[in-house]
């Protein structure tokens, strides 16, 4: 199919490329009373780029409409401004595991068993537990008029749990290329239990500024604004002045980590992927560039192009790893002494365009006194600036873990604004 489309475009475009994504996802859900829902989603989509008369256009759609999509790409080029575009030549692809035969073989009953096993472990009289499991099997094909023709198979298995009965929604999930093993299931169950175990506290006040232990899921929440700030600073040529964080921390984008949801040997621009350090020892050292932006800036693309659906081609992180230059601390509660622990946090829309300034309610928050967790705080609101907070790292945990496509440890941060609702 790819060769045919590119051949048809050859007479009307000097260069063209195409990415095709095929996927079948089986999803099962188990309600609190074990009623099951089952669905299958099969998709087959393309995005085509055409470079004609010195102008670059692109369009997307389903593969059944590929002819119309190709015409749209040409119209897009005609409506666009003159641009430079350097399509890559074919190159050898690195090796990375993106598919698991065991995952591909999972059936509806297997997924129901997986979801049911977690539900059984967590069910209590005072809780409503809902679980889901999902298996995705797909193929990504990339081709270009310069001769690139690459393909890789992908599987992802996701397992999630939602528990009602606490101060807020408790949604946790794991995702990986192979099915989760027994230890991953036990960790998921233990994490839910740890959230519910401490009794709620009746507090009238908290210190206005506190030392806070952010567990890995909360650290993942802090990464999002850091990445925006890093990307903005990098694109603005602001290297070295923005997104500086604690020198013990480095941030790496690693598409070549085996068995992770963001793993891939080639990006959607047809460029072989590579591990790339974005922040080294706290200092920004590199950014990501997709082919279009790289061509405009006359820089090499980094192999992070993503072209899916109706979204414009962009540079996209693959798997993010927050690396640490020293051994992590195991007893972080003792490091905190008097402060808070936050299990999960998402930084929502910020009132200031300098991203990372936040003020958010954190339902899964705990009080630490004398180095011990003494109870749960249900009305805590945290505030601060992610950029500044990551310069005030009091301790780094030895508990780094993969959360889907992100691997982060716990961080203990100083000077976090705290109020009670």
């Amino acid at each position: 199919m790819i060769a045919g489309v590119l051949a048809d475009l050859r007479s009307r475009a000097s260069q063209a490329d195409l990415v095709r994504t095929r996927d079948e996802t089986i999803s099962v859900g188990l309600s609190a009373n074990r009623d099951a829902t089952i669905s299958i989603d099969q998709s087959d989509a393309v995005q085509i780029r055409a470079f004609a008369n010195g102008r670059l256009g692109w369009a997307g759609g389903d593969t059944a409409s590929v002819g119309a999509v190709a015409e749209s790409a040409l119209r897009s080029a005609a409506a666009s401004d003159p641009a430079e575009m350097f399509f890559p030549a074919p190159a050898a692809l690195p090796s990375v595991i993106t598919r698991s035969p065991a995952a591909a073989a999972l059936t509806v009953p297997d997924l129901l068993d997986l979801a049911g096993s977690v539900a059984d472990r967590l069910r209590r009289l005072d809780r409503r537990v809902e679980t889901w499991a999902e298996r995705s099997v797909g193929t990504v094909d990339v081709g270009s008029s310069r001769g690139v023709l690459a393909s890789y198979d992908v599987t992802v298995v996701g397992l999630g749990v939602s528990v009602a009965g606490g101060p807020g929604p408790c949604h946790l999930h794991v995702a990986s290329v192979p099915p989760p093993d027994g230890s991953a299931l036990e960790s998921l169950v233990a994490e839910v239990e740890a959230r519910f175990d401490p009794e709620p506290l009746d507090l009238d006040e908290l210190p206005a500024s506190a030392r806070v232990w952010f567990k890995p899921r909360a650290v993942r929440g802090l990464l999002a604004p850091l990445l925006v700030r890093h990307a903005n600073g990098w694109q603005a040529g602001d290297r070295g002045r923005r997104a500086t964080i604690d020198p013990r921390l480095s941030l790496v984008d690693d598409p070549l980590a085996d068995n992770r949801p963001g793993s891939r040997p080639v990006c959607d621009d047809g460029i072989p992927t590579q591990r790339r350090t974005l922040i080294r020892d706290g200092q920004p050292v590199a950014g990501l560039l997709d082919l279009r932006t790289a061509s405009r800036l006359r820089l090499p693309a980094t192999g992070h192009g993503l072209r899916r659906g109706f979204r414009p081609p962009v540079a996209q992180y693959s798997n993010l790893v927050l690396e640490v230059s020293e051994p992590g601390v195991t007893d972080l509660a003792r490091v905190v002494g008097d402060g808070l622990l936050v299990s999960e946090m998402e930084v929502g829309p910020a009132p200031n365009p300098v991203r990372g300034v936040f003020r958010v309610a954190v339902p899964w928050c705990y009080r630490i006194v004398g180095g011990r967790i003494v109870g749960r705080i249900e009305r805590a609101v945290l505030a601060g600036d992610v950029g500044r907070l990551l310069q005030r790292v009091a301790a780094i945990g030895a508990d780094a873990e993969w959360l889907g496509a992100v691997r982060v440890p716990s961080l203990v941060l100083d000077g976090v604004g705290v109020t009670l609702r």
Partner: protein, 453 residues
């Protein structure tokens, strides 16, 4: 297409529902005066659902219409793989056959991409010309045409063609190291003609961003807060309307119980898919149920929920016609269409005039609901001094408990208006457009925290 659907429906027993939807879209985006996107999109999506008596739902989504019959057969097999504890019933509905696929009067597909680019380029110029302190902008034009076919084994038939168009503007102003932004959007039923003549909107966005540049932060404390109609609509949509959506099987989500007092007598909330002229109004929902105007909260008390056929049967009430899918290939769930707060008494001035010192919130960046915790991030705020609007200020997100918040609702104005901006309900997965409508509202004694800058 009708023959294809009818043949596919015959491939399995039990209840069968087959929805096909085709979408043509255009998008043009400028970052300042640089064209970032000028493109088109062709998508097709189908969903086959089966419910065999005594079993659960089976559903298969696909992107090739030729797979319709295969999808029905597979959905039937999946249905047979589940056997729920309680049998699934579907509330009965009147069987309608609706054909609204006449040629569009204002079809955006007939306008060239170059013309759409030219329109947005001009509007972007208007925005950037508003003030020299505008350092960045992102402007967008979009249009979509949707063609839907829906057929069920009970005899429902829908063939519908509709189009919508939208414009969006984000302005960023900067001076002396400070940066501020302002947003505006319009999304309406119709085509090319419905988004022309919008230059004033783009100029005003630029002016608003500049006006915020030197705004001082609100001093932390407790204030009466007046929300404009758009902010009121967003707040109520993400909180009350959201919590009045009856959850689908397998989705644990809190539902405000019928009879719950959520606010004062002056508060009446509903959802009206029949409102004329709005882009989110409907004839039939995605299960083929004729839509109903539904009062959710009447005089402060929850009186109804939004339902699909299954949730309605479970609750032993009639379906409301709110089974809606968020994307071409997704399964319908109870979702709002045109969420509104009914008007009270008095105009905007009367809501503000009794406030000696307070805050006026116009528009919001976001409303988050975590359990019963509401966090509202204002987009634009001004002080109210001695009953009149005063200087622009910067306001921290407002957090409050849901019941405490609405317990402090003091006045609902009489100046109701539907809001044409592009709104959506925050939910997992793709967002479905929603229209909100509301008057001004006033809340007393809300806690405004310190602003971190």
């Amino acid at each position: 297409m009708r023959d294809l659907l009818v043949q596919a429906l015959k491939s399995a027993g039990g209840y069968v529902e087959l929805r096909l939807r085709r979408r043509w879209s255009t998008a043009v985006v400028f970052r300042k005066q640089r064209l970032e996107v000028a493109t088109e999109y062709h998508a097709f999506g189908g969903v086959a659902r089966c419910l065999v008596p005594g079993h659960g739902w089976g559903a298969v989504a696909f992107t090739d219409p030729e797979r319709s019959a295969l999808a029905v057969i597979r959905a039937h097999e999946l249905s047979l793989e589940t056997r729920p504890e309680r049998p699934i019933a579907l509330a009965p509905i009147p069987i309608r056959q609706v054909d609204q696929a006449d040629l569009l009067l204002d079809d955006p597909r007939l306008v060239s991409l170059a013309e759409k680019r030219e329109l947005l380029e001009g509007l972007t110029g208007e925005l950037l010309a508003a003030d020299r302190r505008l350092v960045d902008s992102r402007t967008s034009y979009g249009d979509s045409v949707y063609e839907t076919w829906l057929a069920t084994s009970e005899g429902v038939w829908l063939h519908e063609l509709r189009s919508e168009a939208s414009l969006g503007a984000l302005a960023v102003a900067g001076e002396d190291g400070a940066q501020e932004r302002a947003l505006e959007s319009v999304a309406v039923l119709g085509g090319w003609g419905s988004v022309t003549g919008r230059a004033p909107m783009f100029r005003e966005v630029g002016e608003r961003a500049v006006a915020r540049l030197h705004a001082a932060p609100v001093k932390a404390g407790r204030y009466p807060v007046v929300f404009d109609p758009r902010a009121t609509g967003a707040l109520v949509l993400q909180t009350i309307t959201n919590l009045c959506r009856s959850p689908s099987r397998g989705i644990e989500r809190e539902l405000l119980a019928l009879g719950t007092r959520i606010g004062p007598e002056a508060l009446t909330v509903g959802d009206d898919p029949t409102a004329s002229g709005l882009r989110t109004s409907l004839a039939l929902d995605d299960e083929g149920t004729p839509v109903n105007h539904t009062h959710l909260v009447q005089n402060g008390v929850v009186v109804a929920h939004l339902h699909t056929r299954e949730t309605a049967a479970r609750a032993a009430v009639g379906p409301t016609g709110h089974a809606l899918a968020t994307s071409l290939r997704s399964i319908p769930a109870a979702r709002p269409t045109n969420s509104y707060v009914a008007k009270g008494q008095g105009n905007a001035a009367s809501v503000i005039s009794e406030v000696s010192l307070g805050i006026y919130v116009s528009d919001v960046l976001g409303v988050a609901l975590e359990g019963h915790q509401v966090t509202l991030t204002p987009a634009s705020t001004r002080m109210i001094r001695n009953g009149v609007l005063a200087e622009s200020v910067k306001c921290a997100p407002i957090t409050a408990d849901l019941f405490t918040l609405y317990g402090r609702l003091d006045q609902v104005g009489g100046d109701f208006a539907w809001d044409p901006s592009a709104a959506a309900l925050h939910d997992a997965g793709p967002l479905r457009p929603i229209t909100t409508g509301a008057p001004h509202t006033r809340f007393v004694d809300l806690d405004i925290g310190a602003l971190y800058t």
